[in-house]
């Protein structure tokens, strides 16, 4: 027995040393979750406009082009469930909040982070925001928070290439999608459309997810209503390879848009702005089929700013 344990420990020791070393190094890496959490704690009280949502808004809305104190609190794959959790987490800090942007993408009402391949991102909310959704070690230890190869990639990029993980601007906008980095708009459309819409919306599972998400959406809007905060539901532009993709499930698109319109009509503090097939965006504005690049983000944010000031002027 002694021989077995000694040999096993000798065998495992390089692995344990590697694990401890990686954990220590990972804790020193800056990322957008860490940055945004600190920002919300220290400057949450000054924010007038808050942008929630997934990668679409993370890369698509640049608060620098919005009037007042705006901040982008979105993260890739962030669902309505986590939008709500974040808002409630910082509700005491958000004393100056006037406008809340909630993006409604084609997966927003049918997506749940725990079911997706990106579910490891739940751990980021636990590690950096203190929003615990389970009891796994990944909720407390960086090494277990995400896949090993992702951790290796983060360490390689941060320590060897000098790049930050999930870089964002000082106001929380994702800056990785510069115009020179455009991806294939056909291939990315195929992939995204399948991921976002290829399911049966009438199946019990998706009916349940849909109902949960609509309920969450309504709770957020009610929360905002009580605080006199204007909510703008927003469907961001998608390139035509996405919109006209033969695999796009039109039922998902129609149901999503109908629901957003209906919710906006129900609440007095809520508008729905649908830019899904807006003519204002050209191929030069897209990073891939459903994400805007820097130019697209600037264009979109200026449209949003104008929409808000027009509304204010009319009132």
């Amino acid at each position: 027995m002694k021989r077995f344990i000694v040999k096993l420990l000798v065998f495992l020791s390089p692995i344990l040393i590697l694990a401890v070393g990686m954990e220590l190094l990972l804790r020193c890496v800056d990322n957008s979750y860490k940055y945004k959490s600190t920002y919300m704690k220290t400057r949450g009280g000054s924010i007038n406009t808050l942008i929630m949502g997934s990668s679409h808004s993370f890369y698509g809305i640049d608060p620098d082009y919005l009037s007042g104190d705006a901040f982008n609190l979105s993260h890739p794959s962030q669902t309505l469930e986590f939008d709500e959790k974040l808002i409630l987490k910082y509700e005491n800090q958000l004393t100056s909040l006037k406008t809340l942007y909630l993006p409604i993408s084609m997966f927003t009402l049918y997506g749940r982070l725990e079911d997706s391949v990106e579910n490891w991102r739940e751990n980021n909310y636990s590690l950096y925001y203190g929003i615990h959704t389970g009891y796994g070690l990944g909720q407390y230890i960086e090494l277990f928070a995400r896949k090993f190869k992702i951790n290796v990639g983060i360490l390689y990029a941060y320590y060897l290439k000098g790049e930050q993980d999930l870089v964002c601007s000082r106001l929380g906008w994702g800056i990785a999608y510069s115009p020179g980095k455009m991806r294939d708009l056909e291939l990315t459309a195929d992939d995204a459309v399948r991921r976002h819409t290829n399911f049966n919306i009438h199946s019990p599972k998706y009916r349940e997810i849909f109902e949960e998400n609509v309920a969450t959406l309504k709770r957020i809007i009610s929360w905002a209503d009580k605080r006199n905060v204007k909510v703008i539901l927003l469907t961001l532009p998608a390139y035509k390879t996405y919109r006209e993709n033969p695999h796009l499930n039109s039922e998902v698109v129609e149901r999503t848009i109908e629901t957003a319109e209906s919710v906006a009509r129900t609440f007095g503090n809520c508008d729905y702005l649908n830019l899904y097939d807006s003519d204002s965006f050209t191929i030069a504005d897209f990073y891939d089929a459903d994400h805007l690049n820097h130019d697209g983000a600037e264009k979109l944010t200026r449209i949003l700013n104008k929409y808000n000031s027009d509304k204010e002027n009319n009132n």
Binding site: I150, N198, H247
Partner: protein, 482 residues
């Protein structure tokens, strides 16, 4: 608790230490500790269903004890049927209630009767089919007087709930596993090291092969209508590798884990994809279930003793029940029937016991005939898996219809083709290692043992690194749902 999680990586050493260092002075205490550990292991998933295992354990323990004292045949039969009804009743309710209800309603509707009935939102308890069959084997063997029933409830509870094989087998026979709880287990260095090697290989098959293949199999099966024939063929192949890596990987981890505690579980897989005919495939795939059906269903039905029609009937019954055991869906029944059809020519020509040895034993490569036979058997298996994987019959037929179209000659096309190629290369490496190690109990049993230590350790570290690299998805084992 899943074998491929950090939770289990922490749980296992704790149980190991308690087992060998704290409770080792008393056999009863050691068995009790195994029961507690097994209940924690199972309760990690959903503690509410522990009551089902406990109830099943109590019923079969009491039935066993009564069978020891009762001699009247009708009373013995009544006791046996009590156990069967209770165990299969639970299984039937949790697994098949909605299936039967839906089909009855459809049948009535077909004949013009409109009946309203609500299906239940029943959660299927993990591994219910496995532990139900295991406890049934105890009652049946005691009834047949093949096994002396135990008076010790702890021993029996440990047998029913033994955590390494509780949720996905091997489905142990009481005659093999139960007596191992009666006697003191000795720690054997060679067994423990071999057990760790088997766990390592099992994890590799699960995490590196099955979970990676699952990404592509799921993508292609879920969205089959948007792919061409060649891509669908690749999807079927990915699922073929996935289900093997997943289930045989689980069995390897289970058997290896049991060996760390001084137990020897039955073999569950014997390199089935190297089979030369379907009969050989079924002797090598999910051995514990095949032999369970053979001993407790096929032989009582008359086995191969009757005439040709009797043999045909019994074979179809076995395969159809086996298919239905996997899930409450017509796809599993068709999968079972298809395998029975594959089996028929071999049985009718009395060639079903032709290939009992290991293929190309003692040789590096198979002969031409052997290679062709293996390829044909493999192709038949891949085709049958389409039904197994499909969510409905319409899905299966839709998939097959598109598969056998002109587009089967086109170049496969789907997202992440490069990653898919890497996964296929990994599958090829796995099968190469399995081919080299096919005469052992598992692939890594003898593989690399004669290498100098640095090379051997380098191989082990490579496997560990691959597991870490591809791990982190915490994917369920497919057979948990059965």
């Amino acid at each position: 608790m899943l074998f491929n999680t950090i939770d289990f990586a922490i749980f296992l050493p704790i149980v190991f230490i308690l087992y060998w260092f704290v409770t080792n002075r008393s056999l009863r205490l050691q068995n009790f500790m195994l029961v507690v550990a097994s209940y924690v292991f199972y309760g990690w998933w959903d503690w509410r269903f522990l009551s089902l295992i406990l109830f099943s354990t109590v019923v079969d323990y009491l039935v066993g004890r009564r069978l020891k004292r009762v001699t009247a045949p009708c009373k013995r039969r009544l006791l046996l049927w009590t156990s069967i009804v209770v165990n299969l009743g639970f299984l039937g309710f949790f697994k098949y209630y909605n299936f039967f209800l839906d089909n009855f309603l459809r049948a009535f509707t077909f004949f013009g009767f409109e009946i309203q009935a609500n299906s239940l939102n029943v959660i299927l308890p993990v591994g219910i089919s496995f532990y139900t069959f295991q406890t049934l084997s105890y009652t049946i063997d005691v009834y047949r007087r093949k096994l002396e029933p135990t008076d010790d409830f702890i021993e029996f509870a440990a047998f029913v709930s033994f955590f390494p094989q509780l949720v996905a087998g091997p489905i142990e026979r009481a005659t093999n596993l139960l007596p191992q709880f009666y006697r003191k287990r000795e720690f054997k260095y060679e067994d423990a090291v071999d057990g760790l090697r088997q766990i390592l290989w099992g994890l590799f098959k699960k995490v590196v092969i099955a979970d990676q293949c699952a990404i592509f199999a799921n993508q292609i099966f879920d969205q089959y209508s948007s792919f061409g024939g060649s891509t669908l063929l690749l999807g079927a192949l990915f699922f073929t590798f996935q289900i093997y890596g997943d289930f045989s990987g689980y069995s390897d981890i289970a058997i290896g884990t049991a060996r760390l505690f001084g137990f020897k579980l039955m073999r569950n897989f014997a390199f089935p994809y190297f089979s030369r005919d379907i009969a050989e495939f079924w002797r090598r795939w999910h051995i514990s279930l095949s032999t369970w059906f053979r001993d407790y269903l096929y032989i009582p039905l008359g086995g191969s003793r009757g005439g040709t029609w009797m043999k045909i009937r019994n074979t179809f019954i076995i395969f159809i029940v086996s298919g239905f055991w996997h899930g409450a869906n017509w796809t599993f029944i068709v999968w079972g029937t298809l395998n029975a059809i594959y089996f028929m020519p071999l049985m009718l020509t009395k060639n079903n016991r032709k290939n009992l040895d290991t293929v190309a034993s003692g040789k590096l490569l198979p002969g031409f005939r052997e290679a062709v036979s293996m390829l044909i058997t493999f192709a038949l298996t891949v085709f049958a898996w389409i039904f197994f994987r499909a969510e409905s019959m319409a899905h299966a037929f839709g998939y097959i219809g598109r598969l056998f179209s002109a587009s089967i000659m086109a170049r496969p096309s789907f997202s992440n083709m490069r990653t898919a190629l890497v996964v296929l290369i990994l599958c090829a490496i796995m099968f190469l290692v399995e081919w080299i190690g096919r005469e052992g109990q598992y692939a890594l049993e003898r593989f690399g043992l004669r290498w100098v230590r640095p090379f051997r350790y380098a191989m082990y570290y490579t496997l560990v690194l691959a597991i870490f690299w591809f791990g982190g998805t915490d994917q369920q084992f497919i057979y948990f749902q059965f």
